[in-house]
């Protein structure tokens, strides 16, 4: 029986602590829920380290651990905290290999979440660090994707930012791309919008449309495969990319990169350009299947 993603993350973390003799840093780790059940019930003697509640200092302490090659895991419970937590990560850890030839490998688990969580903690916030050199960004949503990213980290000496989503932790399924020529439209979803995009695809296909789908996990470096280019170039209406970060960030950057390679229209659908409120009537949620379908028809109409 397939296991939930949270179990895989827990197993990887246990392996990293026991076999790799590493450390896990973060705030409120050993408290209620153990990071939504993704952390084994271990303590400081096992390498699970509670950082002080000073967010900026915490990122610096983890950078120091990376600098002496302990390959720490750093858990950022809400990606909105990237503004504080990642200061020294992007300005020191990510640059260390290039400036001083001293690698500073860190496996950052940045967790995003949506829905009634308000103006501070919600959504993905990887756009703010995306532009910095020396960082690699992935957004795995399934067991195999997560394992693949971890294996890549172990063979690598860079800073890895793993953009997770709380709602993916119960996922047991794997995703499959549909990359074919002569599609009507191709969906390219990121993070939690991948689940909605899968649902949207089925509904659109039931309405007679030919819909391709390319799930984006490796966000930086963003490698565009030749099969994608062929599929996009021969598509009738181009691409719709979706994400749970603001549209004027990583989404438009990636869309532009695709546009340069294919000369096709790459549409984007992310969070609206507004602050999320706590109440559902004023929230700012990632595009669901209804919104994706609506946008696809808007693209076709235009």
């Amino acid at each position: 029986m397939a296991k939930e993603l949270r179990e895989t993350i827990k197993e990887i973390t246990t392996y990293h602590l026991k076999k790799k003799k590493s450390q896990v840093f973060g705030q409120n780790l050993t408290g209620v829920g153990w990071v939504a059940g993704t952390l084994p019930k271990l303590y400081e003697k096992d390498g699970v380290i509670e950082l002080p509640m000073a967010d900026v200092a915490g990122g610096g302490i983890v950078t120091g651990s990376g600098l002496v090659n302990r390959r720490p895991i750093y858990i950022i419970r809400y990606q909105g905290y990237n503004w504080f937590n990642c200061t020294f990560i992007v300005n020191y850890a990510c640059k260390s290999k290039e400036i001083w030839k001293i690698p500073c490998p860190i496996f950052i688990r940045g967790i995003s979440s949506e829905g009634n969580i308000g103006p501070v903690s919600g959504s993905s916030h990887i756009s703010i660090i995306y532009k910095m050199p020396g960082i690699k960004i992935y957004s795995p949503m399934s067991n195999n994707e997560y394992k693949k990213v971890y294996k890549k980290f172990i063979k690598n000496t860079d800073v890895f930012y793993i953009s997770e989503h709380r709602k993916s932790y119960s996922n047991k399924k794997e995703f499959k791309n549909k990359v074919k020529k002569n599609m009507d439209i191709i969906l390219m979803p990121i993070s939690i919008t991948r689940f909605s995009a899968e649902k949207a695809k089925k509904i659109l296909e039931s309405k007679g449309l030919k819909v391709g789908i390319i799930h984006l996990v490796d966000l930086k470096p963003f490698r565009i495969e030749s099969s994608w280019i062929k599929a996009i170039k021969t598509s009738k209406y181009g691409v719709l990319m979706t994400d749970n970060d603001y549209a004027d960030g990583i989404l438009r950057v990636l869309a532009h990169k695709l546009n340069e390679k294919t000369n096709k229209k790459i549409n984007v659908l992310g969070l609206d350009d507004k602050t999320a409120g706590h109440h559902s009537s004023v929230d700012n949620l990632p595009p669901d299947e209804k919104k994706i379908i609506k946008n696809v028809f808007k693209i076709i109409k235009n």
């Binding site: 610096g60 302490i61 120091g64 001083w100």
Partner: protein, 275 residues
């Protein structure tokens, strides 16, 4: 014993002083055109600590900030590599990437600085925690005001790490005096965090007395009052005369010091000419 210690510190300080004087000349004559942070006047802080460490045969991790020439030289960093770094060569200690403010040396366990004041406090604490190696973190009287530095002091105290925080206190953040910025002393704040803390002048004898027995047994902060001879950045000297410990020690030690100082001056001058 103490005479020998003072003489060794004097030699290190002399090396730092004449190195910085040579850099100063090159900034003045526009041979060095990028921002340079000179530490002349403050060299007795790293020189004294480096000599204590040498005598104790410890090789700690070193985390300095932007004003790091004297730390690098006092702890045994390669002089020629630093000259080459300031000349922007790939053979420099930081491969031409660091300039003056991000110098480093794996040989002496000195890690580079990223330019964010006080970042080395948190990063050094993390390195110490994860490696369990004794660590020295050099900051200034301005950097200790950074919130993340204060948070780090609290954490290292809780974890009882073998760290020495050295505050090089010249009373200025660029040109803003300490009493215009705060009403507290580094020593008192560190003490509130239960870190052993001291406030001393940059007199090698006093530094020796404080650190010789206690260093790296538990977290410690030493705020050392010192004077910088040149401006915050680049080549400039204020009209106001400041106390110069190097000249004072030269007078006290006498003829021997004059000879040592002159020899080091010539040596450094030659190295700058040749490289």
């Amino acid at each position: 014993m103490q005479k020998k210690f003072i003489l060794e510190v004097f030699k290190k300080a002399s090396l730092c002083r004449h190195f910085e004087n040579e850099v100063f000349k090159r900034i003045k004559s526009d041979k060095i055109k990028f921002p340079v942070y000179l530490s002349a006047g403050q060299e007795y802080v790293p020189a004294s600590i480096a000599q204590i460490i040498k005598e104790k045969k410890i090789k700690p991790l070193l985390f300095g900030q932007h004003r790091g020439h004297s730390i690098y030289l006092s702890f045994g960093g390669d002089v020629i590599k630093l000259i080459n770094e300031l000349k922007g060569k790939k053979s420099g200690c930081t491969y031409g990437m660091g300039g003056s403010l991000s110098i480093h040396s794996p040989k002496i366990n000195m890690y580079g600085h990223d330019g964010f004041m006080g970042s080395n406090a948190c990063i050094g604490a993390g390195a110490c925690f994860s490696s369990k190696k004794p660590t020295i973190i050099f900051i200034g009287d301005a950097a200790i005001e950074e919130d993340y530095v204060l948070a780090t002091l609290s954490w290292v105290s809780k974890k009882k790490l073998p760290i020495l925080f050295v505050v090089e206190d010249n009373n200025y953040a660029v040109l803003t005096k300490k009493d215009e910025r705060r009403d507290w002393k580094a020593k008192d704040v560190a003490k509130a965090f239960r870190v052993d803390s001291f406030d001393v002048k940059d007199d090698p004898k006093l530094i020796y007395k404080l650190l010789k027995k206690n260093i790296f047994k538990k977290p410690m902060l030493i705020n050392i009052h010192t004077n910088r001879l040149f401006w915050h950045s680049g080549a400039g000297v204020d009209t106001q005369k400041v106390f110069d410990r190097h000249l004072m020690l030269k007078k006290i030690i006498g003829k021997k010091a004059n000879i040592i100082d002159q020899n080091i001056k010539n040596k450094i001058n030659n190295l700058w000419q040749k490289n």
